[in-house]
Symmetry: C2
Subunit: 83 residues, 2 copies
């Protein structure tokens, strides 16, 4: 429910913003999601700001959302819960 | 010359996109700029994607650009040159 489906540059994407206490915690989460991306061989856009990270998953090759994007979104949520 | 002045949410910002060979190198640069941000006590927006990082500096408190944003932009360039 926390993921929004957004359209950017004509492509459907899954996007969620995660909140943190400060910049360092936000950047640590960015790195955790980055590790997940490397493990999956699938790479999101990660916007790191003071106290928040906005994660966007989509599949550029198909210009939109693949089942794998929803799986990666769920895995991102799990990383957030585990932190 | 590589930094553009952009307006977002009514605030003037300095923005530059840096290119890398892959996701891991992009994320490594995000971390280097993150360390700079912590050292400076001034925090940019860092958009990490496959092969690129978009860095945006501005001073939210004044709703635009302070001399320090230009200094941080120059320091970001130096990190890129040193990598």
């Amino acid at each position: 429910p926390d993921w929004k489906q957004v359209e950017e540059d004509g492509e459907e994407k899954l996007q969620r913003q995660f909140k943190f206490a400060n910049f360092a915690e936000a950047l640590a989460f960015t790195n955790r999601v980055g590790d997940l991306a490397e493990d999956e061989g699938h790479h999101p856009a990660l916007l790191t700001e003071y106290g928040k990270v906005t994660v966007t998953w989509w599949t550029h090759k198909i210009g939109g959302l693949h089942r794998n994007d929803f799986i990666c979104a769920a895995k991102t949520d799990a990383l957030f819960e585990e932190r």
